[in-house]
Symmetry: C2
Subunit: 301 residues, 2 copies
């Protein structure tokens, strides 16, 4: 059942509502040190995202990419519930829970450049709410429509408050035209309560194609009139940190250039999941961690 | 039946063939003066396309856009064979033969900035082989896969040689992320003979969704390895001239920004259509002009 005092209600009404965010973006009061400069924290707070060009080196990225390709070739992934395939094709599109399935990706999640930035922004220890590798192939890469991750995590996973941070790490180079992540700057300050009741087992479809929990066109026009659209490009190894409530999406990709990335969601250890606010059963553990949650141990470099 | 001495055979073999272009790109020998500088002609010759930022003023573009919107609202277009609708929706996607259906677009086609550039490049008088307005709406604009227009015009319309020039004029601003035209620089020098036999009445489907007459992925990789991809952006009124054989396409568009444009194909009066080289009946007049073809009269400014 919906919780009465939910500060971020969604999927209850028959029309979209725009609510003001009640949580901080950067939890400065905790005073946790980290790799981001004061200017970078301010940019993140203001825009809802931060680009770190070439945060990882070409050789680090090559190692990650080659390990990934070998892992897919090995056949070990076949039949795993963590693996999502392209509609109509069967090619691997996403691998969830990578930080627990592959040692190299475990180390990556705990790298100070990522985990350190996360704990600095979140003002606490952090754990991985969701991790995945996305393989967005060239020639036929599909679009991913506009959404706030937090809206889904709140409604379907029971994440109580906006105290989570995502990072998308580009494996190959991000061009303007190979379906890069697009973010609406400033959108993280508005909570868009979406229309309609969540169907059961929604996640099985929503990972392939968004239908529920998406904002309407008028809202998207309003948000882009305020903030425009940013589609950061950069060399392989470029990272984009973005707030859990930043409105984002990506276009399809007919170019030969794939748009593979690694995606980690760091959630504050003080913001662990409750019952889903949409009143449905929780999504599986590999989509939204709720059992045996432990703060990530920083990797010593 | 296929013509024996066809220099640009296509859709005959069961594998793709890359043939070298045998025609000039710029027909300089005719010495026809025009608005393009020597440098611009060289760029066009080398790259296969030329961008002219803000070639038309904001007020000219507003006039064209408003006339178009009023025309669509008027209901006059309903049921016309010149009008193509979006698959599954019914919204107007393209209006063909605009230069003969609307006086403002007739004047536009004969404007020295367009027609003058065309006759200069083609080295002769020119006529409109095809004209259209494309309405690529925001939020759900579909991709248009890679293709050479000439391959289609040759096979399906009987255009004998590469002596035609297209221009795409942006009505609203072209961002990197609202599905702009993408061109593979240098691709105009290679003729990609495509696979498979053309089905009857192919044009009815191909205007909505490309399936035949498209190059394979290996060929596209080869062409992009040589030339990369260019996706020119610019203010409303920016024009992109491109060679009839330039490989081009566009991604879908989930942003709120539409990507409307006007598209004219100028063909040399010395390059008029013959019987289609694919052996099928000719496509209709509004797709490929072959009757009552007359050189366009320049508009006096």
């Amino acid at each position: 059942m919906p919780v009465i005092d939910d500060v971020y209600p969604s999927r209850l009404e028959d029309r979209v509502q725009l609510l003001e965010r009640v949580d901080p973006v950067v939890y400065r009061d905790a005073g946790i040190a980290g790799p981001l400069t004061a200017d970078e924290l301010s940019t993140y707070e203001e825009e809802g995202f931060l680009v770190k060009p070439s945060l990882f080196s070409q050789s680090e990225i090559s190692e990650l990419s080659e390990a990934l390709a070998a892992w897919i070739r090995s056949g070990e992934l076949e039949g795993l519930e963590e693996v999502i395939t392209e509609p109509g094709q069967g090619a691997v599109r996403s691998i969830f829970r990578v930080h627990q399935l592959h040692p190299l990706y475990d180390r990556l999640a705990r790298d100070v450049r990522l985990l350190g930035a996360a704990t600095q922004v979140l003002g606490s220890d952090a754990y991985i709410h969701q991790s995945r590798v996305n393989l967005k192939p060239g020639f036929s890469g599909k679009e991913f429509y506009w959404h706030s991750d937090f809206e889904t995590w709140h409604a379907e996973d029971g994440m109580p408050r906006m105290r989570a941070l995502s990072v998308s790490l580009a494996l190959p180079k991000k061009f303007p035209f190979n379906g890069p992540l697009m973010v609406i700057p400033g959108s993280h300050r508005t909570y868009v309560a979406c229309v309609g009741v969540t169907p059961e087992d929604h996640y099985k479809q929503s990972l392939k194609r968004q239908e529920y929990g998406v904002p309407d066109q008028d809202t998207l026009r309003t948000l882009t009139e305020r903030g425009g659209i940013s589609a950061p490009t950069g060399e392989a190894g470029t990272a984009v940190f973005f707030d859990c409530n930043a409105m984002h999406g990506s276009n399809g990709n007919i170019t030969p250039y794939p748009r593979n990335n690694v995606f980690f969601v760091f959630n504050s250890i003080e913001n662990q999941l409750q019952e889903p606010f949409c009143g449905r059963a929780p999504r599986p553990e590999h989509i939204a961690a709720r059992q045996r949650v432990e703060a990530l141990r920083p990797l010593s470099r």
